[in-house]
Symmetry: C2
Subunit: 326 residues, 2 copies
């Protein structure tokens, strides 16, 4: 992984991925006690940064290989990002989803042009099913984070942050990034290393699922005790990746963790002050910026708001609890 | 009013107003039966396009006059736009608001740096109060729409639409604009006339408050029978302006009207598919694009989403009714 791969991904994404703006509000600055800049990747195609990595991976394939199609395992944002990127390349996409995934997500992934193959979590082996389909049809697996071209695609978000922060007059700041397997965090860190050395990427996770923060602290890959039971489902992974972790270890500052309630509160703040829709996992970095200012240093902080694919019910919960007092 | 004034406003706004992106979703395209491009002015500073006009008007004042301050009447988006623009120019701002305005809006306007003067709707003459304050302090009145520098500021939104639509390959389309007094609609129309003659601005209003559509149809300024009682409060005005109407008459296509329920449904669609927060008045153009495709012509339609300053309760109503079926 290097900056040239991210630059090449940026060339392939130009005109296809959206350049998301950098948002701010004096009300959020007041809460945080410093200037807060928010990178709203919820506005990216398919509602999360995952479209960047999906497009990068699909567009990097040799034409003949791409024409045979791609396959991905995901019940969430990665599924939609890969499905859309493949459809726009006229490439078939197979997405393997658990049969108990939310109906809306299954419907969306299908509507984005993918063939959805459902499996029974209890009785079927997902990996064996995927391997068989890939073998039979010559499909290329697009992994969600531990894959160089995916990391390169997510890194394009970091290139934009570097340029936009400079335009906003911010050259020294922590850049807080919602972190699952570390694809976005490591990609952003690599881009910042090259383009904005005064900006330091830091992963943010939900409390109880802070595998990356603990891995950074201990110096080796740590795992989460649990893999389910968080409303921040978009960023729950067993552990940081084999490729992403060394990058984060070399470049990132200490990890941060926030509670689920803080994520909901940040969703309400983003609704009220920025007019954007965030899912809990996409709101953890903003939550850290707003509600843990003591753990951040510098006169400004940049928070990536990584996704907005949230069910209306859960969004209502955030507004019910925190719509009047953010 | 002419394009040079809009270009000059764009120069003054550069680096201060946000260049909002142009959003889209294949799901919205499917609902509308054509390509839908959305200009999310809810992401503008203070949550609506009004910051453009506020900044344009305040920045156009001679320095000594600006230093004495500005005054505006508004309980809504214009108040916040002017307050913020004045504060960023270190100019005093007095905003005259009814004492029964929502507490949150009063608090926000104050927090944005303005002096809020409350008046009693029943027993006080707002205009006399404003005239006295302006006289005493040498304040300059910033009118909400029938003011050339305000129209010029709103027109910068049209300059961006022209450039972004061309980049997206759209050169022939209706541009639907939420319309109150016509400041945004006329400014956008002037910009499009110069930069994108294949794009035609059309005002969109709530049913029962379609003064501009009726004025365009009859050829003279018509008034609304009622001035209250709509959830689309941001775009309810008695009639189009003396300056804005002739511009709209010369340049705009026929007006459109949508129901309140269609506005709520468009808010839910924007939540689910674009991850942006709209207020009802800001959602009427998107509602027309999605739910009245027969009244629009062309292979693509552009909808301005003009503002997002909505109370959490009303937003919940939109999600309750239409969160599951947009």
């Amino acid at each position: 992984m290097n900056i040239e791969m991210i630059e090449a991904a940026a060339d392939r994404l130009a005109g296809h991925a959206r350049v998301t703006p950098l948002l701010s509000s004096p009300f959020l600055d007041e809460v945080a006690g410093r200037r807060v800049l928010v990178k709203p990747e919820c506005l990216q195609h398919t509602g999360s940064f995952k479209f960047r990595g999906g497009w990068s991976a699909v567009s990097a394939l040799p034409v003949a290989q791409r024409a045979r199609g791609v396959i991905a395992f995901s019940s969430g944002n990665h599924a939609q990002g890969v499905a859309r990127a493949a459809a726009l390349h006229d490439a078939p996409a197979v997405i393997i989803m658990p049969s108990d995934a939310p109906r809306l997500k299954i419907a969306n992934t299908r509507a984005l042009g993918a063939e959805v193959v459902l499996y029974d979590r209890a009785n079927e082996d997902r990996d064996a099913l995927g391997a068989r389909l890939a073998e039979e049809r010559g499909l290329t697996l697009v992994k969600p984070f531990d894959e160089p071209q995916v990391i390169a695609g997510q890194g394009t978000c970091g290139l934009e942050i570097a340029a936009q922060a400079e335009q906003a007059g911010v050259t020294q700041a922590d850049v807080l990034v919602p972190c699952g397997g570390g694809g976005l965090t490591s990609g952003v860190a690599l881009a910042l290393e090259d383009r904005a050395p005064g900006l330091r990427a830091r992963p943010v996770e939900p409390e109880g699922f802070d595998d990356t923060a603990r891995s950074l602290a201990s110096g080796r890959i740590e795992r989460n005790a649990r893999l389910a039971g968080s409303i921040c489902d978009a960023i729950i992974t067993p552990s940081p990746g084999q490729i992403t972790f060394p990058i984060m270890q070399r470049l990132c500052g200490p990890g941060l963790a926030v509670t689920e309630d803080e994520a909901l509160r940040a969703m309400a703040a983003a609704f009220l002050r920025l007019k954007i829709v965030l899912e809990p996992g996409g709101a953890v970095a903003l939550a850290a910026a707003l509600y843990h200012p003591d753990r951040v240093s510098g006169e400004a902080v940049i928070a990536v708001a990584s996704g907005g694919n949230v069910d209306p019910d859960l969004f209502r919960t955030a507004l019910d609890r925190y719509g009047d007092q953010v």
